[in-house]
């Protein structure tokens, strides 16, 4: 495992999603990026759909400190304790797992393990994972507290760059979306517009 890719640890987990706490305050993976963690007998893949930076203790509010600082970096430099008092975490929607060498684009038999390390995926992993687009139905059917279509479009846009032909991948994804959303043209249109921008 490449330690450079290790960014966080699972702190809450269920069959359909997991929450992970980042080691670095600014180490939050991008919205829609593919991350990998460990389940009981498999690697579990998730797509980041929500991230936040907040006070480590619920009762302590963050207050503005930079009125006399030239840059926002200077606020951290003048207050080195802040990095210990704040924390970044993110939630990832589980969209598949790898067991026995095969990628399976459906939910794993058991959730990610608490304290399991979370890694960013390499371009090669993303390319391999997106050879099949069966995970899209899982994503589209999920009820996320953020706009699901934004997350779908963000993932497909970034995954496109890992394929030899980004355009070709997006056309393939568009066709899959058209099939899955044949009874919801407005939603399809909304996602496709986000893919082309």
């Amino acid at each position: 495992m490449d330690l450079k890719q290790k960014i966080a640890e699972v702190i809450e987990t269920s069959n359909s999603e997991f929450m992970a706490q980042c080691y670095e305050l600014e180490g939050v993976p991008a919205l829609g990026s593919l991350v990998r963690t460990r389940g009981r007998d498999c690697d579990i893949y998730g797509i980041v759909y929500y991230s936040a930076t907040h006070s480590l203790e619920p009762g302590r509010r963050i207050i503005a400190r930079g009125q006399n600082a030239a840059t926002d970096r200077d606020v951290f430099k003048a207050n080195p304790q802040l990095a210990r008092l704040l924390v970044s975490d993110f939630k990832a929607l589980v969209i598949g797992h790898r067991s026995g060498g095969d990628v399976k684009q459906y939910l794993p038999p058991s959730p990610a393990l608490v304290y399991a390390f979370v890694y960013t995926s390499t371009d090669e992993e993303v390319r391999q994972f997106t050879q099949s687009l069966n995970f899209l139905s899982l994503m589209l059917d999920s009820r996320l507290p953020v706009a699901t279509d934004e997350v779908v479009a963000a993932f497909l846009r970034s995954a496109g760059h890992t394929h030899p032909s980004s355009q070709g991948f997006l056309i393939r994804a568009g066709k899959e979306l058209a099939w899955l959303l044949s009874n919801d043209i407005r939603r399809l249109d909304s996602i496709l517009k986000r893919l082309s921008q």
């Binding site: 203790e57 003048a78 207050n79 080195p80 304790q81 802040l82 990095a83 210990r84 008092l85």
Partner: protein, 399 residues
């Protein structure tokens, strides 16, 4: 029925009425004290002589610098470290069959400058068994560490935790170790503790930790200080009472025995140092350095506790330092500058101390969890522990 707040409200109203009447009188006495301070500044030697010969019923500040001095802070070094420590404890519970207590130390290390860094340490220690729970003399006497003694013992351990972290700060950087409260072990003053208790807690306890800071200064710039927010001391104001006393030498017992008012010096009665220096110190300035004439301070040797006040704008804080810090201009300036900077960053209170408190604090819930844990583990090991029926009745609030 718990506290009947409506009954309290009436009493608070009465109190506020009385305070209002007293306020004008206090303002007049404070103005007098301020004038006396200014006049005292012109007669330094006379005052110093008076302080040395006085026999008073109140604590006096010893003069180390001119009483009229007020000094702006020096500039901060570009790179430096500060370490803050605070502690809390779970006291012996006399309603529990197991006699034990716990200290929780919070230590904060902060590095400023080119490579800013921070480290937070929360370190609990359980004290159990005869040896750890008592202070013993070589002659076989022993005193249980509980109640006020436990608080004093905690102060020693706070200083030990502080010294541990200060000693491992990066080489070459100036460092300030800061604790909350007083460097003077007031708990030992006026109590009839056996000498072996004082020796254990002070000579072999606190002062041994002060020695570590002192030794550290041979290889690097390391200061030790304590910070008292909203101090209630009147050591300097009491010196001003000598200034207006008509008797020479001042001898309260001889000239004013039994009198609690009507004495010449009562013109400034009730004035405290915080209010006095609030009138004379500019923002960020420090007062002159004084030393404490407390009887316990004579045992501190080279670590004799000195103090000064800092004008913080909204409040005046008291800073205590060992004499070797007070006598070293560079260390004194470093202490003054770093404490001001810490207060700027902590919105009026040193940020290293407020964060140390956060690491150390033991809440009511923590206490309940601690005793539940003790009960559970002892039961698992088939060791029966008991709680008093009184405590049980408080936990199970039946009707």
């Amino acid at each position: 029925m718990t506290l009947d707040i409506t009954q309290v409200y009436r009493q608070v109203e009465e109190m506020a009425g009385e305070m209002k009447n007293r306020r004008a009188d206090y303002g007049r006495r404070l103005a007098t004290a301020t004038e006396v301070l200014k006049s005292a500044a012109t007669e330094q030697e006379v005052l110093r002589h008076k302080v040395e010969r006085a026999h008073t019923s109140w604590l006096l500040a010893g003069l180390k610098e001119d009483i009229g001095l007020h000094k702006a802070p020096a500039s901060l070094p570009s790179d430096f470290c500060v370490v803050g420590c605070d502690g809390s404890h779970i006291d012996v519970d006399r309603h529990h069959s197991e006699r034990l207590f716990l200290f929780n130390m919070g230590v904060i290390y902060l590095r400023y400058g080119g490579s800013p860094d921070a480290e937070f340490i929360s370190s609990p220690t359980l004290y159990y068994g005869e040896e750890r729970q008592n202070i013993r003399s070589t002659g076989g006497q022993q005193v249980a560490i509980e109640g006020p003694l436990l608080g004093i013992k905690r102060g020693v351990e706070e200083c030990r935790s502080l010294a541990d972290r200060v000693c491992s700060a990066p080489d070459g950087l100036p460092v300030l170790g800061l604790i909350d409260g007083s460097l003077i072990m007031w708990g030992l003053v006026g109590q009839r503790y056996e000498d072996f208790v004082i020796k254990d807690l002070l000579d072999e306890g606190l002062l041994k930790q002060f020695d570590r800071f002192f030794e550290l200064n041979k290889t690097r710039q390391a200061a030790l200080a304590s910070y008292i927010s909203f101090p209630r001391s009147a050591d300097v104001a009491n010196v001003l009472r000598l200034q207006i006393c008509p008797y020479d030498p001042v001898d309260c017992d001889r000239h004013c025995q039994g009198k609690l008012e009507g004495r010449p010096c009562d013109e400034i009665a009730g004035v405290i140092d915080r209010a006095l220096f609030g009138k004379v110190l500019g923002d960020r300035e420090r007062s002159p350095v004084f030393y404490s004439t407390s009887s316990i301070n004579t045992r501190y040797g080279i670590h004799k506790v000195c103090f000064f006040y800092i004008g913080m704008g909204e409040e005046v804080a008291r800073v205590e330092v060992p004499e070797w810090v007070a006598d070293d201009e560079a260390l004194l300036n470093l202490t003054h500058a770093i404490i001001l900077d810490q207060c700027d960053k902590g919105f009026g209170y040193p940020v290293c101390l407020s964060e140390a408190h956060e690491q150390a604090v033991v809440t009511g819930t923590d206490r309940d969890q601690f005793w539940d844990l003790v009960d559970r583990v002892l039961q698992e090991d088939n060791i029966a522990s008991q709680r008093s029926l009184k405590q049980r009745s408080k936990r199970v609030r039946w009707i």
